[in-house]
């Protein structure tokens, strides 16, 4: 059913569009998908999610191209790829670096898809037993892991996340029907749509940042010919341990919503520590490209598992896809596996195919995509702003949303510069209403007794894990202090 010519064509379009989006500054996986979401409303849901999932994948590939050839990470998760990828390009080994990066992405994504195939139905079956307290504890785990796993200040993560929850609360209260936080402005009644926030925060914010940094396009050229590809493929098997480790890190970080960015950094860091050539990392080691790319793709793909099985997205892009599911009338969560079997398995099957198709497309079209980056910024920038504005407008056909988009753009610019993380803000905005509902239902069942979150082994275990993650920065610091005392 997936293999209809229409769907195959959509896959190709999705991959190519995705790479273009990933290569352009200001457009990335999450907001690229958000902008194109309205165009898929008329398609059948399976086809629609295929296009969107493929765009996201293409964007992951596209990020690697800019990192290696231009030392410009198109996406946050490809920052770690620049460490060794760009030095390789400078030494004239761009083709090798690109082949390694694409192949590693392929391996990472493939492992994640296999994992989804076997694990998702189990998780969904398990989750069918979930009640409101269990669901809230999973939400809690999601958000606590952001605080525990984040690189920056935990208080900034908390502030950004809670701002997301507050924005989600604006408008009609879904339980009592009361209007909240609108202060008499009827325009606020609709609330803030997270798609607008994604387009503004990631799109406009990124353009403003790029403008400030003053992009100079001094890229390396790359040609990939079959000889380079084959030679690189011969070298890659010796890094199997790095690949395996990176896959595991990526899958873990994708399921618990750490996301692709921390996964790539963590994987690079660990590879550097464990490798025999660790001290040479940063000078153009193939292994330094393999590690972050494998982890980023494994994480990006496995973020779909909690989205499908629990209705809890592991990354901003998965959140946008989740928004799409709701619009197409599909209720994400454990029941999806029972009621919409065709859809779920169609999506999973298409992920196997897309992985192969994606590898072929990027290996053959690199020079073409690199040429896009040579288009001057003063042409690209206004076009991207126009595309963002159109994307923001089409979500609700509301003029006001374009203003919101601009506002979120400024917030995104300031927050990025001050190291406030944007992903928790977006996820809180998406999940805010549902997290609140499950919390209130749990409280209703328990008559306001917080002990409901420890009432059985399952919910208690998840809650404990969540609290452990929440206080992880504190625990790590205490342990560090302890060690310093001992020394």
């Amino acid at each position: 059913m997936v293999l209809t010519p229409f769907n195959l064509m959509l896959m190709m379009i999705g991959i190519v569009l995705g790479v273009i989006i990933g290569v352009l500054p200001g457009l990335g996986g999450a907001n690229g998908v958000a902008i194109l979401l309205p165009l898929t409303f008329t398609m059948p849901p399976t086809s629609a999610i295929i296009v969107l999932a493929y765009i996201d994948w293409g964007a992951l590939f596209g990020g690697a191209i800019t990192s290696i050839l231009f030392n410009i990470p198109g996406e946050p998760w490809s920052v770690a790829t620049t460490f060794d990828g760009y030095p390789m390009a400078q030494q004239g080994r761009a083709g090798e670096a690109l082949t390694a990066s694409f192949t590693s992405s392929f391996v990472g994504a493939l492992v994640a898809v296999v994992m989804i195939t076997f694990l998702a139905p189990l998780v969904a079956k398990f989750a069918l037993e979930f009640g409101p307290p269990e669901f809230f504890s999973v939400y809690l785990l999601t958000f606590c892991s952001f605080i525990g796993m984040g690189k920056g200040s935990p208080f900034k993560t908390l502030a950004a996340m809670m701002l997301g929850f507050a924005l989600a609360a604006v408008g009609m209260d879904t339980v009592t029907g009361q209007l909240r936080l609108i202060f008499g402005f009827t325009d606020l009644m609709r609330g803030f749509d997270f798609l607008i926030a994604v387009i503004g925060l990631f799109g406009i914010g990124e353009i403003l940042l790029t403008m400030e940094e003053g992009l100079s396009f001094t890229g390396k050229t790359a040609t990939i010919n079959p000889k380079v590809v084959l030679e690189t493929w011969k070298k890659l098997p010796q890094y199997w341990l790095t690949s395996l480790r990176s896959c595991l890190i990526g899958c873990w970080m994708g399921i618990t919503p750490g996301g692709a960015t921390p996964a790539s950094f963590m994987s690079y860091g660990i590879a550097k520590r464990m490798s025999r050539n660790g001290d040479k990392f940063g000078t153009g080691q193939l292994e330094g490209v393999v590690a972050p790319e494998t982890a980023a793709h494994a994480a990006g793909t496995s973020a779909l598992l909690p989205m499908l099985a629990l209705g809890i997205p592991g990354s901003p892009t998965a959140a946008v896809l989740l928004g799409g599911l709701l619009i197409w009338g599909l209720q994400p969560g454990p029941l999806l596996f029972v009621e919409q079997k065709d859809f779920v398995w169609g999506l999973i099957a298409s992920m196997y195919l897309g992985n192969i198709a994606g590898l072929l497309v990027v290996l053959t079209c690199v020079p073409l995509f690199a040429a896009i980056l040579r288009v001057p910024f003063s042409i690209i920038a206004p076009i991207i702003i126009v595309i963002c504005a159109i994307g923001a407008y089409t979500v609700h056909n509301a003029m006001l949303d374009i203003w919101y988009m601009l506002m979120f753009g400024v917030i995104g610019y300031v927050f990025k510069k001050l190291d406030y993380p944007l992903a928790p803000l977006v996820l809180a905005l998406v999940l805010g209403d549902r997290a609140e509902d499950s919390f209130r239902q749990a409280m209703l069942i328990a008559q306001g007794d917080m002990r409901v979150f420890f009432s059985n082994g399952l919910v208690g275990g998840i809650t404990t894990l969540a609290l452990l993650l929440l206080f992880w920065p504190l625990i790590a610091r205490l342990r560090g202090a302890h060690r310093a005392d001992a020394a």
Partner: protein, 173 residues
């Protein structure tokens, strides 16, 4: 691109990181306070039939206030002599040269609609910041918007905003 080189030579003066941290923390705190205030007004306690509307947002607002206060204090305690800058005036000017026209563009959309405003915006941006000739700029603006028009209105049948003046009414869409 020469405007970028200018930015590179730009002066070392600008808004300090510390000042920016403090201002943002205060703004976030104010937002948190608004949330707390409105949630309290709606009822943040336990009603006769369960938690009231403000129950959940009340604590959300409280957490915003607490976390921004910590960030505020942390920023105050860092030494001002650190010299780290949030943004220097040169790049800030560049950011504003994108942001202000973008705002003007959105106002334009309101009156003449997305297609017409976008064409003008792309062309003016290219002439002003990219120093391209008028002919080239208008050509790029027009071709981008004609393709957008075909894609949205004709192929996908998604109508975009035509503006209150509807300058494109003669096309029949």
């Amino acid at each position: 691109m020469d405007e970028n080189q200018k930015a590179g030579r730009g002066d070392r003066a600008g808004i300090s990181m510390r000042a920016a941290e403090i201002i943002v923390a205060l703004l976030v705190f104010a937002l948190g306070a608004i949330v707390v205030f409105d949630s309290y007004r709606l009822g943040s306690k336990w009603g006769s039939d369960g938690p009231q509307s403000g129950y959940f947002p009340f604590y959300v607002g409280l957490l915003i206030c607490i976390s921004s206060l910590v960030t505020f204090v942390q920023a105050l305690l860092t030494k001002s002599g650190h010299g780290e800058l949030f943004v220097t005036w040169g790049p800030l000017k560049l950011v504003l040269t994108v942001l202000i026209p973008a705002a003007v563009y959105v106002i334009g959309v309101q009156y003449v609609g997305l297609y017409v405003a976008s064409t003008i915006y792309i062309a003016v941006f290219m002439v002003w910041l990219g120093k391209y000739s008028w002919f080239k700029s208008v050509a790029v603006g027009l071709s981008v918007n004609v393709s957008l028009f075909l894609m949205f209105e004709v192929w996908f049948k998604v109508p975009l905003f035509k503006g209150s003046l509807e300058p494109l009414r003669f096309l029949g869409y």
